[in-house]
């Protein structure tokens, strides 16, 4: 989740709050937010996840002129050889942890630097062998101050789970 420049913008915060179904005025109404304890619009607790928008290497965003694994004419845009297992579509999010050092406000410009953490394996009941991979991302503001520390654990499953 690396990003050189992640501008925190009021419109983006409002849309993020819409998407998580949070009608709290502190995310969209500057006038109402000015009367709250933080004293202005702030970002919701999981907002830094949207730094993916500013990550040039985000593999979960279709890129112009490049194959995309979602459907078009075919069910997937990635051609694979007979019998080949690319593991596509079985990477899942296992854990997410945030430590908050201060509130994020419109006007902040963050940088995100991600470091790889531990890796481990486990036998899953529903989805076969599970391979876990941890990463730690530090979000710093325009003054180089640490504002959010994020620890993410991803898992690659052997097979899809049933509903």
């Amino acid at each position: 989740m690396a990003a050189d420049k992640f501008p925190v913008e009021a419109g983006h915060i409002m849309l993020f709050a819409h998407a998580i179904g949070d009608a709290n005025p502190i995310y969209h109404d500057a006038e109402a937010a000015s009367k709250t304890e933080p004293g202005g619009v702030i970002a919701p607790p999981t907002f830094v996840q949207a730094s993916a928008q500013f990550n040039p290497d985000n593999t979960m965003r279709p890129k112009i002129g490049q194959p995309w694994f979602g459907s078009g004419k075919e069910a997937t845009g990635i051609k694979k050889k007979e019998g080949e297992d690319t593991g596509s579509g079985r990477g899942l999010h296992a854990e997410q942890h945030y430590e908050y050092h201060r509130n994020l406000e419109p006007g902040d410009v963050l940088t995100a630097i991600t470091k790889e953490g531990k890796t481990w394996e486990k036998e899953g009941r529903r989805s076969g062998k599970l391979k876990f991979r941890e990463s730690i991302t530090e979000y710093r503001d325009q003054n180089g101050e640490l504002v959010v520390t994020a620890r993410s654990v991803g898992v690659q499953t052997e097979r899809a789970v049933e509903q």
């Binding site: 983006h12 849309l15 993020f16 819409h18 998407a19 998580i20 179904g21 949070d22 709290n24 502190i26 709250t36 304890e37 933080p38 702030i42 919701p44 607790p45 999981t46 996840q49 949207a50 730094s51 993916a52 928008q53 500013f54 990550n55 985000n58 979960m60 965003r61 279709p62 995309w68 694994f69 979602g70 459907s71 069910a75 997937t76 596509s88 579509g89 079985r90 899942l92 999010h93 296992a94 854990e95 997410q96 942890h97 945030y98 430590e99 908050y100 509130n103 620890r151 097979r159 899809a160 789970v161 049933e162 509903q163």
Partner: protein, 140 residues
């Protein structure tokens, strides 16, 4: 309104329905705003025919984001000091989710008061989809 230590006890709970009858459109909204366009969450053809799931399902981070709404409604704006979860089960379109925070500990550190919470989000079948912890600064 922030919480006040004097009015809280270990074991106190706060619950909220965070979504009823989750719509596929909300998954599209979350994809668009977060930048996670993984077709598992919005592309029925890919999710069923390629990845082998019964249908599309919610981003874990959408469920965490909705769980965070319950937390900030409880502890007040800008009061969280940490929030972490494990995603234990998929959340599917049509699900109803309820989030609960339970007070695990009340503590004082350097003259400031904090509450430590156990966080759990369950679906309409009572299955836990997200479990975790959070801490927040509270008033004396």
């Amino acid at each position: 309104m922030a919480l006040s230590a004097i009015q809280l006890s270990v074991g106190d709970t706060y619950s909220e329905v965070i979504v009823e009858d989750l719509k596929r459109t909300q998954l599209v909204q979350y994809a668009g705003v977060s930048g996670d366009y993984n077709p598992l969450h919005s592309d029925e053809v890919f999710a069923t025919q390629v990845a082998g799931y019964p249908t599309v399902f919610a981003h874990g981070m959408l469920t965490m984001g909705m769980t965070g709404k319950m937390l900030t409604n409880y502890v007040g704006d800008g009061r969280l000091t940490n929030f972490g979860v494990r995603f234990s089960k998929q959340v599917w379109p049509g699900d109803d989710l309820t989030s609960t925070a339970t007070i695990k500990e009340l503590r004082e550190e350097g003259g400031e008061h904090f509450v430590d919470l156990v966080v759990s989000t369950k679906n309409q079948k009572g299955e836990e989809v997200v479990s975790g912890t959070a801490s927040a600064r509270i008033d004396a």
